[in-house]
Amino acid sequence: NAGVTQTPKFRVLKTGQSMTLLCAQDMNHEYMYWYRQDPGMGLRLIHYSVGEGTTAKGEVPDGYNVSRLKKQNFLLGLESAAPSQTSVYFCASSPSWVQETQYFGPGTRLLVL
């Protein structure tokens, strides 16, 4: 039981490049979330999903897109990376209602030059 895994662990992009971050969970959780963590800012919600085929915007969605084609996977896309998207990205999942414990992945460190 791996829990929540994230791919890749670290990535360097040039401004304007695109990439996709993959989050996978093997706990059969309905809810999945993408957060970004910046120094002195805590974690901020980018997008979330309440089930397969659904997505919704969080606090800071601009510049990102997401897809949840399979229940166990939640993809975060950057179509045209900007230096402001340099951050550590965390994926999380929870069984159902958000009051349930969220389980976090180890994070993806992204540097945009």
């Binding site: 974690l43 969080g58 965390f90 999380a92 009051q99 969220q102 994070g107």
Partner: protein, 114 residues
């Protein structure tokens, strides 16, 4: 809109001493409150949570937190800290109608002195 304030950016505590980390929230309805810990280079791990009932909640690793509605606070405590408790601690509240994610405070960095 809901918000969470952690007034202390850094706290230094001697090993074996007691610890209290402060958290204040702003939320119109009954809050659902959480404390998470993040060790260096790691993801977040839930320490404890409060939904309702007893205002003193026990968590893992010997931590506890007390919900005080009159003070809009949910402070985290531990009677005796260990060097392994050095980490970043985040207080969080559930956002919106329940389906949204967590709203986090900016975190408190805990340093343990030998």
């Amino acid at each position: 809109a809901q918000s969470v304030t952690q007034p202390d950016i850094h706290i230094t505590v001697s090993e074996g001493a007691s610890l209290e980390l402060r958290c204040n929230y702003s939320y119109g309805a009954t809050p659902y409150l959480f404390w998470y810990v993040q060790s260096p280079g790691q993801g977040l791990q839930l320490l404890l949570k409060y939904f309702s009932g007893d205002t003193l909640v026990q968590g893992i690793k010997g931590f506890e937190a007390e919900f005080k509605r009159s003070q809009s606070s949910f402070n985290l405590r531990k009677p005796s800290v260990h060097w392994s408790d050095a980490a970043e601690y985040f207080c969080a509240v559930v956002a919106g109608g329940g389906a949204d994610g967590l709203t986090f405070g900016k975190g408190t960095h805990l340093i343990i002195q030998p």
